[in-house]
Symmetry: C2
Subunit: 418 residues, 2 copies
């Protein structure tokens, strides 16, 4: 087991150890946001036949070359083709057919004239324009041809993909499984949020932050409750999570006398890959795997509320996204101008909670007060984590630094912006 890694080293070890989960088949509407596990090939052609893109009249363009508003050409309207219908017979020379958007072009017709360019009257239509050949006709296969590879394995499914799956008649689809994440809180002082905190007890709030972080990453949290600081309780809790893809314990991986999680993990066959990452908040992070198939991944997260959340961001979230088949597994990083000077000792990378705001073309990053790893409030007010490099000791006000953006909404606009 390695100790005291740099952040980047630790991230690389975690991702290297993280498998992409297998496929599962779900009903298509439930696949929104999931990653396609196999490509989709069309077994149909769309549109299935040449069809009208407008409401109007199906004609032969060559017969209307002389039509103009001054000298409209009048044709008999011999039948009607609704969207869901079909022509009763081919269109003979000199005839027109009423046609509606989506209606299949009758054999013999090659063009549609929009109804705005016509004047229907008593079984005939006067056509006031000379159409181009094929105007307002959607050719068969314009969108999709039978046998086309339509969606590639590995894409993340958005609304347009679900529309396409529906159009192709696919009601179910194979996607990557969502990781299931067991969460165990440890500590004699902890209670659930609905219980009394008399006598100095505190709420196991990490479980709730972590479960929400899982859901934000598209994973499914499985909350195992609170284990007292006793090996048997911790073992029972961790065993309940062994069938999940990831096991998170919060607190209990430090060096204290009461930290029973590490010995229990070892007893369960967990090989720890590292303990301790040179970052703040969040040094006492442990990572390992259970032996057999390498799953679950096991993260022993620090107990401080901010440390737990920040280590989740740096290590757990990318692993969960990779498991689900995602490729862009890291938060957006922007360059921001620092509103006030920061200093720290050299040695550990600090993630400084900042609020981000746009100032013209620039982004301003303002630290959100007390950066103690116990002060969750500064995390609730932050939209980003500013990266204060390990060996740096001072960042001046006005300096430009990299910031991980935690809130996707930061990029959205209160105005259309176009």
């Amino acid at each position: 087991m390695r100790k005291g890694l740099e952040v980047g080293e630790a991230q690389a070890i975690v991702l290297e150890a993280t498998p992409v989960l297998g496929p599962e088949t779900v009903v298509a509407p439930a696949a929104l946001g999931r990653v396609l596990a196999e490509g989709v090939v069309s077994d149909r052609t769309l549109p299935p036949a040449d069809c009208s893109a407008m409401d109007g009249f199906a004609v032969r363009a060559s017969e209307l070359a002389q039509a103009s508003p001054a000298r409209p050409v009048s044709l008999p309207v011999v039948f009607e083709v609704p969207a869901g219908g079909r022509a009763p017979r081919p269109l003979a020379p000199g005839e027109a057919a009423r046609i509606f958007t989506g209606g299949p072009l009758p054999p013999g017709a090659d063009t549609v004239v929009r109804q705005e360019d016509t004047e229907p009257a008593g079984g005939r239509v006067a056509i006031r324009v000379a159409p181009g050949l094929g105007d307002h006709v959607r050719p068969a296969g314009e969108d999709v041809r039978e046998g086309d590879k339509i969606l590639a394995a590995g894409i993340r499914l958005h609304a347009a993909h679900l529309g396409m799956l529906a159009a192709l008649g696919r009601s179910v689809v194979a996607v990557r499984q969502r990781p299931r994440v067991a969460i165990l809180s440890g500590g004699d002082e902890l209670v659930e949020p609905d219980r009394s905190v008399a006598g100095g007890r505190i709420v196991a709030s990490n479980s709730y932050s972590l479960a929400a972080q899982c859901r934000e990453a598209g994973a499914e949290p499985v909350y195992l409750g609170i284990a007292r600081d006793r090996p048997d309780e911790i073992e029972r809790g961790l065993r309940a999570g062994l069938r999940c893809d990831v096991l998170l314990s919060s607190a209990g991986v430090s060096v204290g006398d009461h930290d029973h999680v590490r010995p229990v993990l070892e007893k369960l066959g967990c090989r720890l890959a590292f303990w301790g990452v040179r970052m703040k908040p969040g040094y006492p992070l442990a990572f390992g795997r259970l032996d057999a198939e390498g799953l679950p991944l096991v993260f022993g997260l620090p107990g401080n509320p901010v440390s737990a959340m920040v280590t989740f961001e740096q290590f757990v979230r990318p692993a969960l996204l990779k498991m689900a088949g995602r490729v862009r597994v890291f938060r957006p990083v922007v360059e921001a101008r620092l509103a006030e000077a920061l200093q720290k000792p050299a040695g550990r990378l600090h993630f400084v909670r900042v609020e981000l705001a746009r100032r013209g073309a620039e982004i301003l990053a303002t630290p959100t007060g007390n950066q103690s790893s116990g002060v969750l409030r500064s995390m609730t007010e932050g939209t980003g984590l500013l990266v204060f490099a390990a060996e740096a000791t001072r960042l001046e006000a006005g300096a430009v630094a990299k910031v991980q953006v935690l809130d996707d909404e930061f990029f959205a606009g209160a105005e259309p912006g176009i």
Copy 2:
């Protein structure tokens, strides 16, 4: 009713007509991503008492001013304070107490020495450093004080907020309601995706795209199925959606003989605010409200698959986000370099489906093939909509244009980037 509006005018009319929905109370974990409807004030102090931030020994700093590795100071360890416990009595001068992370500081103690800086032996501890007063002590109220305004109405709830709500003992929370969106597809040619398309029928795929777009916007779709092109079927369908917050019909708002939606809407008391927006795809968009309270908002979307999705993006999505209490209701807009020349007639703003890719500091936008409003496939391959202004007729290859980013993942990284 106005006709043929510019995109920006139409967006302003829609948002002006859109109310923010009322509050509802939900269990806190279900509030992730929702907008807080009322501020949260703490009724407790966190931490509730001065407590230890480390595993170590509670001491009086003044007694250890001379301690050093060469000359450690030895103190008797008179009791132990676990995290969930409390001190049996005050610490007398010359004493130390074993203390664990989160344990309340005994009266009389003012400082914690980390166990790494000590050598326990037989009921005593040798302290090798001279601590600063208050070292490793988290003062009572460092995070939250009773009466503090912790979360403001209007914020969107993320993981840290849910952790904070748990820490404050809040199991339920008041948030803005999620809009419910009724979706009706109209057309004699339409079938559901699991049915045969023999005879030129096509799947009502718009309903599936639109439902997914609703879910992406945090709204709840209520799919009303397919109505045939008959006034009674359309009326029955629309009536089923009248209690929703938004009513979407796809197709049926054009000028064709078979377009029964507008007359039915008028019969139901809908006042159309406008019909037609000078954009492509998507001209034939109708927008109005039912009379009484202004809800549901009614959007008659075009029938072409891309037109329906693009008008949803420009008009429906911002309205849904506003209803849910969001402020940044518009998609991110980036400047991108166009990979190939585009041209069009002056008159309508075109939204050109493009794939976005980073090229160093720049973003490259490549149109995704056939831009026909019937070609859903180009929408499945696009991550953005490039804005080709109404009066412009040509954009050269290499020109810089604004692009609405439809895929949040575009900003994420395949590498940590820090």
